[in-house]
Symmetry: C2
Subunit: 677 residues, 2 copies
């Protein structure tokens, strides 16, 4: 690479941050295990300077954080804390039982944002909100605006649905983010420790022998242990993980699998029940397994990840197919119709996969993170960062209605992005994720540095042996597949740069200082050498669009293919169809193949004649064909109304799924039925 | 036909009942419109003597009615009425807010059962229960064990979810059944009229300007009008129908479409929202339209039926695809996975279609009734009549667990039939339907008699001009497709016997006294002649099993065919597969065709090798095939693991869907993927 041929604009002018020490002081890591194959680089070590991921973090900063604060004030969820201080509860309480957590997730997002940018205005905002929250904390450390006061339900009287420990979990995560960005000497961090101490007292070995209906306290307590070194928090997290699955919670309509209280974590084979609960619990259980060096538990979680990815995950990386209980379906029940694929489950999946990646260093975890990041997490916010998908369907059959930008909607009622929800976990979950995105890009180990996600970035760190390394990446990824890495001035001696070759990137090339290197498909290309300042590594990932078919047991995708391009799943949106025809009336001519022309992904499609509908029974007698020649390539015959090769074909543009729904009401589909020709 | 060659055993010895008058006295009709193309024959006019439908009514009598009474006592839902009398409410109240209605539906079932059999023990049982119910009625006619007492919610304080008018509706339906089987001079009927009068006072033109969140009062009031001639009931029903759809109820998470309060009935194009609510409302709206001769309203309901059948109905006739809100999905969202297809929605569909059939005489309505009867309503009860499907999925992926016969389960939690449910509407709905089955078999009009459903039966009625006609049907239908009709002794003069040729019965034959008659496909074969006693009509419906494909917009059935045989949808159950292999691993060889051998329906299938699963990403790169010859018959290429013609084929037995799940836990599917050969 030469600087005169940049791979892509870096977008933002950003100061190169100073390298932080590894163990001392705030390290800005979203998760920070003390054991494991890989050590993450935190926000102090990686600065994303632009590109796709940079845009996500910048829009979060420019629009979403303020949007969220506005809605938290407007809906009175922030005001609940003031009402608690002023003795106006329970009358003045607003929002659902877990409304406090949206404030905590905003605080966590602000903490990471300050850690990333060092912008004092962000810090002021954090402190102003944190003061209101901490003011409502009770003398014994308890903090919840929905329980325990006269006229409210007793503390911990409804572990199944009360979300009290879940709320403490998010409070603690905000404290962890604060400690990892400004240090432990902070009023909010002290308040969080008091809360954690309270939890350990009440739910410790001699305390209430139960768990929360919504996991989250588990990863939070381990992370607080990692920050503080206080073993009690780890022990409590382990207790929570071990208790669950022994029917300590009441049975409910959805069954105890809903909150993973059906089978102990170490005995389960696959994620099940509520997808956010399942992924949060799994993340916390990995944390416990890693810190307690419990290989049996860790192995159970690897197995669950494997089986979940193999049979219970959408092509987008989305998890959870059921609306009713926001839950995983049975194996291969992955309908595109009404795919739930909750945004928060995407965040939970990221948390789970990231922890396994740090533990094992297996690129498959980073592959799923990439897929989920581009096709679930990035799909949720609107172009302006002020409305959000709560669910991420893969098939929109009816033209949706644009929600009123001044009106909150039911959690999954909207077919288009909405500004706020009655249950509004997703916007705040995105905020904390986008603000900490730089923490998921790269790691180190004893050999050197690993690049997991590609974005324009500058990275400075020290290897375990104390050597400082620094590098810069430039790329327009995923607009194109070229990533240029340049070794910066202070890199010295032999070390290994490992760059992820995504599972989809057959034919990837890696070129070091102009010399092509051997590349194994999928995994890490490991480049060990005595890097010199100015050395360049060029990674070329093939971005030609490709067809993808589903496992034959995914009934909902039979006879269909999806189109992917790099890490992006593409979709067909009716605003791009000829005459804005309903997407369900188009059939893909697979023979033509997907192709990229002038930056657009094109496929060839034919429009089918809609069958006569009025009053017609939609099930048609189907005659077995006994006379036609049997060939391996033949599938089921088309129904009478399917288009054939004799009908005119036209080029149709597909766009990244994460962009859909930004151009007004549209029908949309990811899985494209293949035409009979 | 000769008596020495019976088409099938009649099963039961039953006395031929006396012919009832048309207008006078109890006529035993489940619905009794005063206008319309067809006049139904009631339980006093049709006796089902055996066969498939006879088995359903006999098992209901022998097992289900007592089973239901047992559970109503055991769960305390019957005891709620005693508790009301004894002042033990609300403390002693048991069950959901609508638990009273299960008692009412049992009463309705008992009323029809007494009307059918004249068994005094059934009458005694009816009276013993009715006395307990009526004792709880308040002075002003109000009757509900869940509202209005100190400590309970106020009457009509929760129209959205309280189900008070829904409960009155089922109470009234029980009263209508009683009046139509013993006459109006009955204490229970008088109590029901007091209740109906109360409803009219409270919700009349000057009263509460709203409706109930769950329709049912609408058909009930019209039916009571038909029994009593009291116009006030019809007017009130019309008011309820006209009010709905004008946002008179609160908005809820599922939207007002859940209870059809989104669009006025006369403006709606398709059924939507909660499927039981939608079908009950539609039935009542047809009743109002017919009695008020409101052609515009009737036309709206025909249109809604048409569009619902064309795009929102399972091949089984099942309605409602969503678990979350027990609701219709959008057009063509008919996944076999977790198909909801609530048993009660099948009953509601029967009510709706029967009323349109009576209004219009169009055989399509009778076709859907047959389909729903054989594949939803008959599918719900177990072989022993003591456990039930609440939902009727078309695809069971996991081996279910047999519910404890002494334990009620969540409404849709069970994958196998359960003895009782927390919401137990389905068993009682079946009971009233099976007891009145004979009322859905035949009608008269000015030309003669129409046979809509085929069962061994004896029918006696009078035509509008006063002539008595009688006939007997003998058949083993659907075991075979032959129905023998014999004109009985007291038939005189020229009249028309119309026999339904089902939509699926291409090639049906009708033979009168040995002479083949011309038969149009689908509709009624109309045989006008001067029938003499002993004349015979032989109906031969082709019962060879057939393949059926779905509209190409039903994504969930793409690349699959179903097998049907006569009115029965067939299914593949793992207990019938080689080595009990999971049904999802079998592929159908369509070239071999379905066939019947020794009474079993066979297809040819190949077992596919399950793809490697552990940790495997289930989405596979799919290369477009550009070299193979393009032919009309080609569909999408099979995925790598699909079996081909080179793999061994074996015969596999399919059985009627309504029998599935009676042989222990099994996987099951209706839609069979077609193999690539």
């Amino acid at each position: 690479m030469t600087r005169s041929e940049p791979a892509g604009a870096t977008g933002l002018d950003t100061d190169i941050p100073p390298a932080h020490g590894v163990a001392d002081g705030p390290n800005g890591r979203p998760a920070d295990p003390s054991h494991g194959t890989l050590r993450p680089l935190g926000l102090g070590e990686v600065v994303i300077t632009g590109g796709f991921l940079g845009h996500l973090q910048q829009r979060n900063r420019d629009a979403s954080l303020a949007h969220i604060e506005y809605w938290l004030e407007r809906e009175g969820w922030l005001g609940n804390f003031d009402a608690a201080v002023e003795g106006r509860l329970p009358e003045a309480r607003r929002g659902r039982e877990f409304a406090d957590t949206e404030v905590y997730k905003l605080l966590e997002g602000l903490a990471w944002e300050f850690g990333r940018t060092h912008d004092p205005r962000i810090n002021d905002k954090f402190k102003r909100i944190a003061v209101r929250v901490v003011a409502a904390q009770e003398a014994d450390g308890y903090l919840n605006t929905n329980f325990g006061r006269p006229g409210q339900a007793r503390r911990y009287s409804d572990l199944e649905w009360g979300h009290e420990l879940y709320s403490f979990g998010h409070l603690i995560q905000a404290g962890v983010a604060r400690a990892r960005t400004v240090g432990e000497d902070d009023d909010f961090v002290r308040a969080v420790r008091r809360a954690a101490d309270h939890v350990c007292e009440v739910f410790g070995p001699e305390g209430i022998q139960s768990v929360c209906g919504h996991p989250e306290i588990e990863p939070a307590l381990v992370e607080l242990y990692r920050v503080t070194g206080e073993r009690r928090y780890l022990d409590q997290a382990r207790l929570f993980v071990e208790r669950r699955g022994h029917q300590v919670l009441d049975d409910i309509e959805y069954g105890r699998s809903y909150y993973q209280d059906d089978v102990p974590v170490r005995d389960a084979n696959v994620l099940r029940g509520h997808a956010v609960r399942a992924t949060y619990l799994s993340a916390g259980a990995v944390d416990v397994a890693v810190e307690t060096e419990d290989e049996g538990l860790l192995q159970a979680l690897r197995r669950q990840w494997d089986n979940t990815v193999a049979a219970r995950t959408y092509i987008t990386g989305g998890m959870g197919s059921r609306h009713q209980d926001e839950a995983f379906g049975e194996d291969f029940v992955l309908p595109a119709d009404r795919a739930y694929s909750e945004t928060c489950a995407g965040v939970g999946s990221l948390m789970f996969s990231w922890r396994l990646l740090l533990a094992d260093g297996d690129s498959r975890y980073a592959d799923l993170i990439e897929r989920t990041l581009y096709n679930v997490i990035a799909a949720s916010p609107s172009n302006d960062g002020r409305s959000f998908f709560y669910t991420n369907t893969l098939h929109q059959r009816e033209l949706g209605t644009l929600p009123d930008p001044q009106q909150a909607v039911g959690r999954a009622a909207s077919s288009l992005r909405a500004p706020w929800f009655g249950v509004s976990c997703c916007p705040t979950n995105l905020a904390r994720t986008f603000a900490s995105l730089a923490g998921y890009v790269a790691t180190t180990d004893t050999t050197g540095v690993q690049l997991h996600q590609y974005a324009p970035a500058i990275m400075r760190t020290t290897l375990p042996d104390g050597r400082a390394v620094a590098l810069e990446t430039r790329t327009a990824y995923p607009r194109n597949g070229r990533i240029d890495v340049r070794i910066l001035g202070d890199s010295v001696g032999t070390w290994t740069l490992s760059v992820r070759i995504p599972q989809w990137a057959d034919g990837a090339e890696v070129i070091v200082n102009g010399d092509a290197q051997p590349v194994e498909p999928a995994g890490y290309a490991r480049l060990a050498r005595d890097f010199k300042p100015g050395d360049t590594v060029e990674i070329l990932l093939p971005m030609n669009p490709r067809f993808t078919a589903a496992d034959p047991r995914v009934d909902a995708a039979r006879g269909c293919v999806a189109v992917e391009r790099g890490p992006e799943v593409m979709c067909l949106e009716s605003v791009d169809t000829p005459d804005r025809v309903h997407v369900d009336l188009l059939r893909l001519d697979e023979a033509a193949g997907p192709r990229e022309v002038d930056g657009s992904v094109l496929v060839t499609m034919r429009t089918m004649t809609p069958p006569e509908m009025q009053g017609a029974w939609p099930y048609i007698r189907h005659s077995p064909v006994t006379t036609r020649k049997v060939s391996k390539a033949e599938g089921p015959r088309p129904a009478a109304d399917e288009p054939t090769a004799s009908q005119p074909a036209h080029d149709v543009v597909l766009r990244p799924y994460h962009t859909w729904g930004n151009r007004g009401p549209a029908t949309m589909r990811v899985w494209l039925p293949v035409t009979a020709a």
